[in-house]
Structure formats: structure tokens, C-alpha cells
Symmetry: C2
Subunit: 420 residues, 2 copies
């Protein structure tokens, strides 16, 4: 068995490499045609997708998956339509491939140019969300990368059905079938073998919970871009208007508490501890948010539970929030840099100097001034669809769009120039 | 002992992180002053540097290092002056930090900006070349990164002396001493421990032979940018003028055969096999180059040795070259993609279509049209000093300058904007 898995992993990499080389020679127009054909195929095959998804749902119920997991897994005609629509929107975006990022003529007369090119082969390891299959495939086709998609075993039938729709679209427009390869086994032993195919796979993106991502990082010889979740902060600075603080803090915490850009800790400058803190604390409690506060917070907010040191590090993804009073802007910055996850942090302040110091001092991928952490999103930023939000510093940081699935090559054009 | 090493590695990371945070708040002017003070200190301490280097040289001779290694290790007043000059040139370069890479206002009226910021802490693991110590430190100071420098044990005294000159310069301009940390032990066991400090070290750059780089990749939990060496090709296309082919092939192979951007394989289009190949082959032999050829080559070139399959993969770094006749441009591209190391490859052709197909088809970091592979270099491209030539595709590819030691953060400025 292990031999067959080894062979399969090697073949996925090699076939991906060949397909990637072919994709690199296609025009943006051809790739957009593939995306439109893919959207059409998904719409036309809605009944098949829903029927195959029903097999996954039945297994999920039999295996006692949580209702939240089953909800993420479920496909219905409306959701298939939305997935197809997302693919069409990716087709409408500008082509990232071939862009001249920078270029100049050197004094000796030869031309040096940095040109954007596809990475080659991208592997995406994810959990039981069928929409990731079509989103990731579409972003990779857009950026002329071959992809290898390994979704959770819970969504296996759904993913194979989506893969079949994608195959028919690729065939229709004459792109190589191996441009999108859906892993056809749920054997978990394949993953570590796949992660050693560094000769043919250029990038791995794990999407899912922290344990999945850590396992991939631990096993991979291929560079990984990590999408860890977010322990996001809102800092209410001295002098912050009450209306601004209330509106943004409530939005950041309760509008959708289960996502990575929701706020997990609110920091109040001491000057606001007797004014804004009790009012906003009460409004959070009215919105059914449990508050875990520092002693200064609990003193001012009946019903507040005392926070432990662990709370400052915790991403609740729930209607729970940690609240702390800090003595200064610098204390807020230090707290965030120490306890945060470098994902998204906000300052609410009327003071331009404080805003600038916060933006410079906070070592996070997204720093928000007078707006909600919930705005940290590829769609909101105007990137179109996103492959995720990178918590790495290398290559891409924050929301990643199709252009973040590219690299560049230096193209140097001379007329016989040699090194002197 | 292992405990003390653990503590030292953790301290290097933590102190680097604190220093990096401080550096991120400095102005480009302050950092340039530090660089100028560093150049001055190195010049003033030339006698000390040369004396400390003499200890390394004595040990190197006692340990029987090759004369090439001893030459790379050696410092004299002229070389110290050149190192100081390189630091001054880095000071003259534009400041990469703070650049707005892109920015726009979203339809709802908030502003989204991608701003260039330092990575934080960079570790560089290298061999016995003292000039890497000053170059790397200078590039990291320029880009507002703290650095941890671990050079080869053969250059230990030289590195500590250079580090002392740097410390005095940092103190003089009020930058933190831990901005540049030279590892003060030659214990090899430190390196794997250091490579696990992923919480505080953001990037590792190994500089040296392939075995050093592979060991770092194998052991590191920190992202690594690899600087593997180059198996570079020159492809002489049909119709290539004789003067162009001769001049560039000779330059690419013999001008400095021991470096990564020297050519290792020359490919001749079949149409040139009876004309250019024998002439250029003879000139290479006149320049004392050993030729290992395909059967078609050996047929036309007396004195040519037959090449083995292994030759096509080999980076000789010496006066040896592999020569092959190919049937077409596509065969040349396929040969390069299969056997090359994706470093630097050149086409010599009068045909713009062939040049374009080669540039698009060859999956290398540097693709040269009608010029020598030897031009693949940060200085030649106008980047100023380089930290090396990346053979990775992620983050930075090809020659890397100070700007490649940065990342970006998204800065979002609103007036109370929330997620709807």
C-alpha cells in the first residue's frame, strides 16, 4: 500500500509540473474561458453535486459531526450557484501573470525587468469545505498554476464531483486535465508523502484549524504559507469618541464572532476606564458576550469574570471577550505584540500621532485605524476572491489573492553584453 | 552544556526581537548614520581586524585548508577598505522601509494601503568569508532588521573583530547593541537550536555550499531562503551570429568559472552544429576548458570527452563544460528545465519569437537574452549590494537586495467603518 501511495504522490507532483508548464504558456483569455466553462459546468451539474454531497452529509450525520461542521459541508442549489458565481468573479479580475513589476535600462545599455510568472504547482490541504475546492482551483487557474487539492475526507464525494465538473471544463477549452488534480484517496498517509515532493510542488497552503496547519509545517519539505487564526485586538485610545468606540467594538466582537478577524481582546486606555469601558462593557453583555477582565475592568463592570494570563493569548471564536485597562498607548502596543497573533489589530483614536505610532509599532499583518478588524478580508480590500489570510511575513502577508500565487523572473535583454 | 546553548539561542532570538522592534521605529537617516559610523570604525580598526584575521589564517594553515579557502578568508588593509566602501554604498541606496507598495480608497470610503516594513529578525548562517559579516550586517541595518550572524568557525576571530567595530558604531549613533549579534561560540550544536527559534527569528538565509544549505533546510522551523548554486546554460539558437555566440559563450564559461552564474552547459541548435560548435569548441579548448560532449559534439570536436547523463546535472565551478546539440528551441527549453537548477539561463538568437518563447518557457529565476549569464548579479542589476541570489520561488527570486529583507503590512484607515 505504501508503495502505491508513494507512486501516486510522485505522479501528482510530476503531472502537476507538466501541466503547470503548459499553463504558463496559456493566455489570460484562455484561462478566463476555462473559468467560465467551470462555472457553467458546476451550474449544469448542480443535481449531481448535491446528490454526491448528500452521501457526505449522510456519513457526517452517522459519524456525529457537529451541526456547525455539517453546515459548512452542506451543498444546495443556492450554494452551488454562489460557488459558480465566485468563479465567474475571479474570471473578471485582472490577469496577474506577465505583469512587469519593475524594469529599467542599465548604464551599459542592457534591459533588466522583473516579470510576474506563475509559481508552478500549488498544493492546498484543507478541511471539509467543498467551496474551497472550487475557489482554490479557480484562483490557481487564474494565476496559471497547476494545483493539487486535498480536502477533508468528510467532503470526499463532494470534492470528486466538483473535480469532475472542473475536468469537463478544462477539456472543453483545451487546457491540460492535470491542471487541477483532486486527490482521489482519503488515506491520511498520502499527505506526508505529498509534502516531500519538493522537486515538483512549489508551495503548500494548509487551510483549516491550527492543528492541521502545525502538522503540515512539521512534515513539509515544501515551503508553506500559514493561515493561522487571529487573536485580534481593538485598542480604545484616550479621547476616543464614545460613538466610534461603541460601534467598532461591537462590530468587531459580535457581528460574526466565529471568524479569524473578529476581536478577542479589547484594550481601554486608562482615561476611558470610567467612561467608555462600563458603557461598552454593558452593551457587550447585552449582546450576550461573556467578559473576562483585568482587575481594573472587573472593578467597574458587574458580572465581569476575572481574566487569567491565558485569556490574553486566547482566540475564543465565540461570544467571549477579554478586556484590559492599559496605562498608555505604548502599553497597548506591547500587550498586542506580546499576546497577539500578528493577524489584525485596531486603534480607535482622534489623535493622528497615536494612530501613526500604533501603525508603526504593532507588528501585525493588518493594522486598522478607526475601523473594525472585520474589514481585514481580501474581498473587502478589493483583491477579489482570496486564498486565505497569511499570518506569515514571507512572500505574502494578510489577505492573499491570485497575484500572491505568483513569483517573478528576471528577464535581461542585451545585445551581446558580457561581464567585464 | 546543552542547557547553556539552549539559553543562549533563546536569548539571541529574544534580544534580536527587542532590538528589531526598536529598529523599526528608527528613521532611514539614523540607520544611514549607523552605516557610515560602521564604515569609519572598520577603517579605523583595520590593524585590529588584520591582526585578528591573522589568528584565523594561522589556524587555517595549520588545519590544511585549501589555498582557495584561505584566500577567501584573508583580510588585508585593501580588503578591509573595500568592505567599508561596500557599507558606505549601502548607506547611499534608497531606503526600502516605509514605501507604500500600493494603496487605494475603497468604494465605502476607507483607505487600504500596503506598506513596506522590516521583517524583524534575520539569521544568516555562512561559511568562512569575513566580508559576509559586514555586508549582511549592513544590509540588515539598512532594512531595519536585527540580525544574528553565525559565520564559519574558520573566521571566528575575524568575525568577532568586525562585530566589535559594528558595536562601537551602533553605540555611537544610539542604536541598540543587539541590532547586530555575532554568535560568540563555534559550537556546532548551537545551529539546530537557533533554527528552532521561530517565534523570534523571522527568516534564515544560509550562504555557502549545498551541504550547508541542505542541513539548514532540514533542521529549520524558521522559513529559509535558499541560495543554491547554479547549473547555468547558454543556448545558441539557429541563426545566431558567430561573433555574438563566441563572445558570450566564452565570457559565460571562462571569465570567472568558480561562481554560481558561470555557464556549465552550452546547447547548440542543430543548424549551428557544423559551423559555430567547432569554432567555439576550439576557442574554449584554447582557454583550457575541458569539453564533455554529446555524441554529435564529439563527432565534430577532436579532443572532446563523451558526456555522461550526470554531466548534464553538474555544476562544475571549474574549467569544464558540457556541450550538447539539440534539435530545436523546445528541446533546449526542455533540457534546461529538466537538468538545470533554475538559476540563470541564456539564449543567443536574432529571432524575437524564439527569445520570447525561451523567456516564457524556461522556469528559471534569471533568463538572459543575447547577453552573458555572468550578468546575473545584484550589483549588475542595480540593486546595490546583494545578500545573495535566491533559487527559491517564494518571497524573493534571483539577486536579493535590501528591499528583499522586508515584508509589508496592510494599513486600513477609516472613520468608523464597520463590516456590514
Amino acid at each position: 500500500m505504501s508503495n502505491a501511495l508513494d507512486e501516486y504522490a510522485v505522479r501528482l507532483g510530476r503531472d502537476g509540473r507538466v501541466a503547470g508548464r503548459k499553463l504558463a504558456l496559456t493566455s489570460g483569455k484562455q484561462r478566463n474561458e476555462a473559468l467560465r466553462a467551470m462555472a457553467t459546468a458546476m451550474r449544469e451539474q448542480t443535481d449531481v453535486l448535491v446528490a454526491e454531497n448528500a452521501k457526505d452529509l449522510a456519513a457526517a450525520q452517522a459519524n456525529g459531526l457537529t451541526s456547525a461542521m455539517i453546515d459548512r459541508l452542506k451543498l444546495d442549489p443556492g450554494r452551488v450557484g454562489k460557488m459558480a458565481q465566485a468563479v465567474l468573479e475571479i474570471a473578471e479580475q485582472p490577469d496577474p501573470v506577465g505583469e512587469t513589476i519593475e524594469g529599467h535600462v542599465r548604464p551599459d545599455g542592457f534591459r533588466v525587468e522583473k516579470r510576474r510568472v506563475p509559481l508552478g504547482v500549488v498544493a492546498i490541504i484543507y478541511e471539509a469545505r467543498p467551496n474551497v475546492t472550487s475557489d482554490a482551483a479557480a484562483l490557481c487557474i487564474k494565476s496559471a498554476n497547476a494545483c493539487i487539492l486535498r480536502g477533508g475526507k468528510e467532503s470526499f464525494h463532494s470534492n470528486m464531483a466538483i473535480g469532475s465538473a472542473i475536468s469537463s471544463a478544462l477539456a472543453k477549452v483545451g487546457l491540460p486535465a492535470e491542471a487541477v488534480q483532486i486527490v482521489n484517496t482519503t488515506d491520511r498517509n498520502l499527505v506526508p508523502i505529498l509534502l516531500r515532493q519538493d522537486e515538483n510542488i512549489d508551495l503548500v497552503i494548509p487551510r483549516g484549524g491550527e492543528s492541521l496547519i502545525r502538522a503540515v509545517v512539521e512534515q513539509s519539505r515544501i515551503p508553506v504559507i500559514k493561515h493561522y487564526t487571529g487573536n485580534c485586538h481593538v485598542y480604545v485610545d484616550a479621547g476616543c469618541p464614545a460613538a466610534l468606540a461603541e460601534s467598532v467594538v461591537l462590530n468587531a466582537k459580535v457581528q460574526r464572532p466565529g471568524v479569524c478577524n473578529a476581536a478577542e481582546t479589547i484594550l481601554f486606555h486608562r482615561d476611558t476606564a470610567d467612561t467608555l469601558l462600563p458603557v461598552i462593557g454593558r452593551k457587550l453583555m447585552d449582546a450576550k458576550v461573556e467578559i473576562r477582565g483585568c482587575p481594573e475592568t472587573c472593578k467597574r463592570l458587574p458580572g465581569c469574570k476575572p481574566a487569567t494570563e491565558q485569556d490574553w493569548y486566547t482566540e475564543y471564536l465565540d461570544l467571549i471577550v477579554a478586556v484590559k485597562v492599559v496605562d498608555s498607548l505604548q502599553d497597548a502596543i506591547d500587550h498586542i505584540n506580546k499576546h497577539g497573533s500578528h493577524h489584525t489589530d485596531a486603534i480607535l483614536t482622534p489623535d493622528v500621532g497615536a494612530a501613526d505610532a500604533f501603525v508603526t509599532g504593532v507588528d501585525s499583518g493588518n493594522v486598522m485605524v478607526n475601523c473594525s478588524t472585520r474589514l481585514s478580508d481580501g474581498g473587502v480590500y478589493g483583491l477579489g476572491a482570496e486564498i486565505g489570510i497569511s499570518t506569515d511575513k514571507l512572500h505574502a502577508r494578510g489577505p492573499m489573492g491570485a497575484a500572491d500565487l505568483t513569483t517573478y523572473k528576471w528577464v535581461v535583454t542585451g545585445s551581446g553584453h558580457i561581464r567585464q
